[in-house]
């Protein structure tokens, strides 16, 4: 497990910073903005009426439930998902392109360790970090839910809604890993991760804008809809399954490529 430990040591600080940013945003939005937001409902509604309805949708606002804990929480999810996607694809890119970036593929791959094992140790390190980050996010969500949502509390629903960040991040981890192993060269992890995250954000905005159902099959941020989990107690199965399938598919592709690729001389 030396590779697992090595990867954790090299990547955990970045993940910790992202976790702070995402959880901080969550706390800021719920504890800082929600009470004032609910109080000034008329003013906000009045302001939003000035814009076309698609505008609000583009920024993640679903008007029918925006003025409730669940709706407001789900509204924030577009942004948690954006940051989470950048973080998760960043982890995938970072871990799986580490040797490629630092030109030491020869070093790692001439060690007596099967490539499948190397891949799995790296994957395990990535999963450990994502899980750790999400435990913090979920605990914070539940604490805020208890503090700010009106009775009756449905903790399972809040838990499920909060978990959608993890599922989205797993998908983006796979996207990052895939990009890392298929790219000939990875110049900047943060640059590529940001591009991938914003691509997800734009697809989501596009879907909200056009309200085209088919588009949702290629909109990763909406595979696991926090609002649906919150209000209906479950994700929409076909999208959740699409998300799971895409995640597995990309991860498998990354794995096969990693264990088979010819490593060219420098």
């Amino acid at each position: 497990m030396n590779v697992y430990r090595f990867e954790l040591r090299r990547a955990w600080v970045g993940v910790a910073v992202w976790t702070l940013v995402i959880t901080g945003l969550l706390v800021g939005l719920i504890a800082g903005a929600l009470p004032a937001f609910l109080e000034s409902r008329t003013a906000v509604e009045h302001m939003l009426e000035q814009f076309p309805p698609a505008f609000a949708a583009m920024f993640g606002m679903q008007m029918d439930n925006l003025f409730s804990f669940g709706g407001f929480y789900a509204f924030g999810f577009l942004y948690y998902a954006l940051f989470g996607a950048i973080m998760a694809s960043g982890i995938g890119l970072d871990l799986f392109s580490r040797e490629k970036r630092e030109k030491c593929m020869d070093f790692l791959l001439t060690k007596p360790r099967a490539r499948s094992r190397l891949f799995l140790e790296k994957l395990l390190a990535a999963l450990t970090m994502l899980l750790g980050s999400n435990v913090i996010f979920i605990l914070a969500s539940l604490a805020l839910y208890r503090a700010y949502a009106p009775a009756p509390l449905l903790t399972e629903r809040a838990l499920l809604a909060a978990s959608s960040l993890l599922w989205i991040e797993l998908l983006f981890l796979a996207i990052g890993a895939c990009s890392a192993v298929f790219a000939r060269k990875v110049r900047s992890v943060s640059g590529m991760a940001t591009a991938i995250g914003f691509a997800g954000f734009l697809l989501s905005a596009l879907h909200s804008l056009l309200e085209e159902e088919k588009l949702r099959y290629i909109t990763p941020f909406k595979y696991y809809d926090a609002a649906k989990a919150f209000f209906d107690g479950g994700f929409e199965v076909r999208y959740a399954l699409t998300g799971a399938a895409v995640t597995l598919l990309l991860m498998t592709a990354a794995y096969l490529r990693y264990i088979r690729a010819d490593i060219p001389a420098l």
Binding site: N2, F6, E102, C104, L109, T110, I263, L266
Partner: protein, 296 residues
């Protein structure tokens, strides 16, 4: 007993581009085997196939009797590899990198790391990225040898080492060889291969064109001869001389044969200047190339 390295008709194509074709090698345990050829001839391709970094297209390759693809992990625990260019992870001290490297082997390498670093006078507490090219190379050498491998594979190892360090390096390799390690040494510099190798394979355009002992190579090797005489030498000829080129008072040719016969011939000429030197590898290959053409 199994060969340390044995390949039979080992072939690698990158798509349609040639890597190596039908390479047959048999390196015995305990020898220092040289592998020379110009850049792009297929030295690295052969080595990388042996190490499992690239997959062969055809043929077979074994190390200590084990298949290079199927039993890669077992093989790699006995192999030390030093690539031509050494790069490591950013922001690591040499000692951290070496400890990480050692953690892949099921033995304690602490003592050997210290010994090797001492022999190369390498400061292990320095960050690798702050090191000079030569020192980075030393980290690579320690990294390749710290687990006392049975087979040492060196791919153009001397680039970036100054002559003094080269000598230390060759001494180190020779000591490892005396310890019992087999060495595969690839290079495009004939001189350094001649310096320590027992036998040498010559590879050109993906194929092995010759395999001989160093002694043999020396005896049969060409010398590059050039001289300037007081007057133009008309119709210079000598048995064993090839590619004779004359321009004014200067004459140059490649010579293969008795060195005394050459010197006698030269002694009779009114020389102003004379130079006898080892030909560049490319010039030797010219000779293999011509032989190939003649055979057709």
């Amino acid at each position: 007993m199994a060969y340390a390295i044995e390949t039979k008709k080992l072939t690698k194509y990158y798509g349609k581009a040639r890597g190596i074709v039908d390479v047959d090698l048999a390196v015995e345990e305990g020898e220092i085997f040289g592998f020379i050829g110009p850049n792009g001839a297929g030295k690295s391709t052969t080595i990388r196939t042996l190490l499992g970094l690239i997959k062969k297209t055809g043929g077979s390759a074994t190390i200590f009797g084990m298949d290079c693809e199927k039993e890669k992990v077992k093989i790699l625990s006995e192999v030390g590899y030093l690539p031509g260019e050494v790069f490591y992870y950013d922001n690591m001290r040499a000692i951290d990198l070496l400890r990480y490297s050692a953690s892949f082997y099921k033995k304690d390498c602490t003592k050997r790391i210290a010994e090797l670093a001492d022999a190369l006078s390498l400061d292990l507490n320095k960050k690798i990225e702050d090191m000079s090219l030569g020192n980075k190379k030393k980290v690579g050498i320690v990294q390749g040898l710290l687990h006392a491998p049975r087979l040492i594979i060196l791919d153009e190892p001397t680039s970036g080492l100054d002559p003094l360090m080269q000598r230390t390096f060759f001494d180190l390799i020779q000591r490892e060889n005396e310890r019992g390690a087999t060495v595969l040494f690839s290079s495009h510099i004939l001189g350094e291969v001649q310096r320590i190798c027992d036998r040498v394979a010559i590879i050109k355009e993906g194929r092995i064109v010759d395999l001989r002992s160093i002694d043999d190579l020396r005896k049969n090797s060409y010398k590059k001869v050039s001289f300037t005489a007081e007057q133009p030498v008309a119709d210079f000829s000598l048995a064993g001389a090839a590619q004779i080129a004359q321009e004014g008072t200067a004459t140059s040719f490649l010579y293969s044969g008795e060195i005394n016969a050459l010197l006698k011939k030269l002694a009779d000429l009114p020389l102003v200047n004379a130079d006898i030197s080892e030909p560049e590898l490319e010039e030797i290959f010219l000779h293999y190339y011509e032989d190939g053409e003649a055979a057709k």
